[in-house]
């Protein structure tokens, strides 16, 4: 049952908690279209007209928000897994 040592499980648990918190907050911020993340957006090459550009921006915001939440969920799973391994490792 135990496939992680104590150090690995502890590291993964901490990383997962950090990931959940940070990616969750980033997801929310992308969802409300915070301009701080302007340079992180994905704008396809052909969107030169302003209307198309703004449209691409908004789509990108939503998509990245979704991606962040997917990653949050994945880290949630990792947290459960590594937390279980940690519990196995540290129970006396």
């Amino acid at each position: 049952m135990k496939f992680c040592g104590p150090k690995l499980s502890l590291c993964c648990t901490i990383l997962s908690v950090w990931g959940i918190i940070q990616l969750g907050i980033m997801g929310i911020l992308f969802y409300i279209k915070s301009p701080a993340f302007l340079e992180d957006l994905f704008i396809p090459e052909n969107a030169t007209e302003p209307a198309a550009y703004i449209d691409a921006m908004e789509k990108s915001f939503s998509q990245i928000a979704l991606n962040c939440w997917i990653a949050t969920a994945l880290y949630g799973g990792t947290f459960v897994l590594s937390g279980w391994q940690m519990w196995l490792n540290f129970k006396k």
Partner: protein
């Protein structure tokens, strides 16, 4: 008197101890940990001291205990550390302890040797059992072979020559066991030595056997060698001995072999029982020893420490006592008296006498620290221990160190990581400090947990001021900048600069706390930040250095060095103020007066703001007065009369240099001349001082050249240093720029890849890329940059700040304390493991 402000007053005391009570008194003082003994017998060889026998006995006991510990550890019996601190036992108890240890050691040795003998026996019997099993096959072959040759069959192996012996050929044999690795060379050797006239059969023993000496498992093989004749027998036997193969007498007849096998089996069973009983006994002995081992060890260490201290005392044969000289902090004299009284009561003899002496040499420096301040004091002491009763920079370091670190590290995200790490270590202080970890890096981090906590909190603050969270800015209050342009303007212009003079672009009131979040997206962010960070670095640097100079005034006043105040402190302050404090003043004036806005007159617009650097250079070069060019042009000056004021300041600063160089030597020369004239030689004047450092001013004339040289060096160091140290504080800017850029690059090159991946695969990409980004953040930005900023902050404190007032020529007060001795012993034990 405040204890961290400057080091405590330490008195040299003489202690008269009666012989009977000496041991208990020293024991009490060791528990107290406030007294530093001086070695009164420094020339005596370690082997000629009075208590060398007792020390030797302690060493013996320690050796026995270590042997016990090794055996306990080998059996993996847990040694519990109850955490109690047993007192040093009385000398008569020492004999009991010795006897106890001797008994335990002998018992253990006996058990061990018995076990070894039994194991050897066991091994032999096991090997014999294997031999008896395996050789069955060999004998069958031999009999068959012999039988074959007997009848006159027409097989090719028929002997052509008639046999001399009637019946089967008489083959002698030798059976034994050899290590599997040696079988091949063994066979080859036999073949060569006996010219192929012997016949070897071997079979491997599947299970490994335990070697009794080393305890490890080895694989062996059974062999049997058939030969004919005495010569070959001797040769075979010799080869077997050479290859360290054990030979066993194996009976020929199968019936005998079966009988032997059964006998061996019963003996093996018996041996097994005896062996397990021996092991049980050993285990019981070790378990009972393990319970007390730790407290015994502590007791032995304490006894040894007491006798080492007693060896430092002088013997007073007249009154049958011991005389000790020790350094005791003056506020603790009462406590020490009480401890001595306790010690004498315990041994029931005459009380000890504590006498305060006056001394010429400088006492050790004692800072009373607690767990929080100890780390900061350690940082300062690493460079140099403060001279006796000198101003202690460690107090101020508690705040300036994390603050200067935070200027270089300012990032809210990284600050949070550091704070969490520090807070965890502080919260789990007690359990973590009990655990003895070998890793030196962990011990360094744990020792500096309060420093890390403070550095992290301050970094969070500067992160808010720089508005930087993992290279992104927070917009909590709404930016003061707005973009009023229409689509066509934006589309047609590659770059647009927002003008702060237009109210529709800049609100007029700045962002309440920290940097406006819009700067994060501006292309000229670094230009703006550079100017800001460089200026505040200089300002903080000059404030820090002026603070250092002012601290030197306290030192001069405490040691009654009036001459220094007049000839060093005042010119130093004047020099720094006229040049560098004036520089910061210029910075503030520029910040306050010049700005963009609708009603700002031309001369106060940003376009007309004079460069501070050029102004300063022109000031020092005493460049000529520039006429005002008219009401509608820029002025080189920030306020009226600036040129004349600056001229005056430069003159004052230049006067300060010869003042620093010559005034003090001149006064000393005059004073020494006066003394020589009055006929009273010597050092009375200087000696009227309170218990303090050695008189610094030498009283003889021939030191005049030395004074001049010393003063010259001091002056040059200060004057040149003022410029170079001021510039040195620019590292605050440099490192903060580097940190911000690294953070930005990490986000842009790593995390952005995951963010801008199109489609839902981005989610999974983010999962992995975030892990990589987080690891790199911790390793590069928190650890590496943190270490770098820590180092630079330390340098700023050690060199730029402390060179203004700190002497650092003292030696630390190292009290005789059982705690520190036990800790030192523990660490040597863990290192040796």
């Amino acid at each position: 008197m405040g204890s961290l402000f400057r080091s405590e007053e330490v008195a040299l005391c003489q202690l008269f101890l009666q012989s009977e009570s000496a041991y208990t008194c020293v024991s009490e003082l060791g528990e107290l940990g406030l007294v530093q003994f001086r070695d009164l017998n420094p020339d005596v060889n370690a082997f000629q001291r009075k208590f060398v026998n007792e020390v030797r006995r302690c060493d013996e006991m320690e050796r026995k205990l270590r042997y016990l510990e090794r055996e306990i550890r080998r059996d993996a019996i847990p040694m519990q550390d109850t955490g109690d601190n047993p007192e040093a036992p009385m000398p008569r108890e020492m004999i009991d302890l010795e006897a106890n240890f001797e008994k335990l050691e002998n018992e253990l040795k006996e058990v061990n040797s018995n076990a070894e003998a039994l194991k050897r026996n066991y091994l032999e019997l096991t090997e014999l059992r294997h031999i008896l099993k395996k050789t069955q096959v060999f004998f069958d072959e031999r009999d068959g072979c012999a039988g074959n040759l007997d009848g006159g069959s027409v097989s090719l192996t028929q002997n052509l020559l008639p046999d001399e012996a009637k019946g089967p050929i008489q083959l002698g044999f030798v059976a034994g066991v050899i290590l599997r690795e040696r079988v091949a060379s063994f066979e080859r050797m036999l073949w060569r030595a006996c010219r192929g006239n012997v016949f070897l059969r071997q079979a491997q023993i599947e299970e490994p056997l335990e070697d009794p000496a080393t305890g490890e498992q080895v694989y062996k093989s059974v062999f049997i060698i058939f030969f004919q004749g005495e010569q070959l027998k001797l040769r075979v036997k010799k080869i077997c001995e050479g290859f360290r193969a054990t030979m066993y007498p194996c009976p020929e007849a199968p019936a005998d072999r079966r009988e032997m096998a059964m006998g061996v089996k019963t003996r093996l069973d018996d041996l097994n029982t005896v062996l397990s009983q021996t092991q049980d006994h050993r285990h019981r002995v070790l378990v009972s020893a393990a319970r007390n081992l730790r407290s015994w060890m502590l007791k032995v260490w304490k006894i040894k420490a007491i006798y080492h201290s007693l060896n430092m005392f002088n013997i007073d044969t007249i009154q049958n006592g011991l005389i000790a000289e020790c350094w005791i902090p003056v506020p603790d004299l009462e406590t020490v008296q009480l401890a001595l009284r306790r010690g004498t009561e315990k041994s029931g003899s005459l009380p000890a006498i504590l006498n305060r002496l006056s001394c010429v040499e400088s006492p050790p420096t004692f800072h009373r620290t607690n767990k929080f301040t100890r780390a900061f004091q350690g940082l300062i002491d690493s460079y140099g221990v403060a001279s006796y009763r000198e101003m202690n920079p460690a107090v101020y370091t508690i705040i300036t160190f994390p603050f200067l670190f935070a200027i270089m590290f300012g990032d809210l995200g990284h600050g949070i990581i550091m704070t969490l790490f520090g807070a965890w270590m502080v919260w789990k202080e007690k359990p973590l400090s009990v655990k003895k970890v070998d890793s030196e890096i962990w011990n360094i981090f744990f020792g500096g947990r309060y420093i890390i906590l403070l550095m992290g909190t301050f970094s969070m603050y500067t992160g808010i001021i720089y508005n930087d969270v993992f290279s992104k800015s927070l917009n909590l209050f709404g930016s003061s900048w707005h973009v009023p342009f229409n689509e066509s303007t934006i589309r047609d212009n590659r770059e647009i600069m927002l003008d702060p003079k237009q109210p529709d672009q800049y609100e007029g009131t700045p962002y309440p706390i920290g940097l406006d979040p819009l700067w994060q997206l501006a292309a000229n962010k670094i230009n703006f930040l550079n100017s800001y960070k460089m200026k505040i670095s200089i300002i903080f640097g000059i404030v820090h250095m002026m603070f250092g100079i002012i601290l030197s005034l306290w030192n001069h006043r405490f040691f009654n060095r009036r001459l220094n105040v007049l000839c060093e402190f005042i010119p130093q302050v004047l020099f720094m103020s006229c040049l560098f404090v004036y520089l910061t003043l210029l910075v503030f004036i520029k910040w306050v007066n010049y700005g963009a806005g609708e009603d700002v007159p031309l001369v106060l617009t940003p376009g007309c703001a004079p460069s501070i650097l050029i102004t300063f250079i022109n000031m020092v070069l005493m460049k000529g007065y520039e006429e005002a060019k008219g009401p509608n042009s820029c002025s080189a000056y920030m306020y009226d009369g600036q040129f004349y004021l600056q001229r005056m300041m430069v003159v004052v600063a230049v006067i300060c240099v010869p003042w620093m160089l010559v005034a003090k030597p001149y006064f000393l020369y005059r004073a020494s001349k006066q003394r020589a004239m009055l006929g009273t030689g010597g050092v009375e004047g200087a000696m009227e001082e309170t218990p303090s450092t050695m008189p610094v001013q030498p009283a003889e004339d021939h030191d005049m050249s030395e004074i001049l040289i010393h003063q010259g060096i001091h002056t040059i160091e200060f004057v040149l240093g003022s410029v170079s140290h001021t510039a040195s504080y620019l590292r605050l800017w440099a490192l903060s720029l580097a940190h911000a850029q690294l953070s930005e690059v990490l986000w842009g090159m790593v995390l952005r890849i995951g963010l801008s991946t199109a489609g839902t695969t981005g989610g999974f990409a983010m999962y992995f890329i975030f892990a990589a980004w987080a690891t790199l953040t911790v390793v590069i930005l928190v650890l590496m940059e943190g270490l770098s900023a820590f180092l630079h902050t330390l340098r700023l404190h050690w060199v730029e700040f402390q060179s203004k007032f700190y002497e650092g020529q003292g030696y630390a007060f190292v009290p005789f304390s059982f705690d520190s001795i036990l800790e030192a012993n523990e660490s040597t034990v863990t290192e040796a493991k």
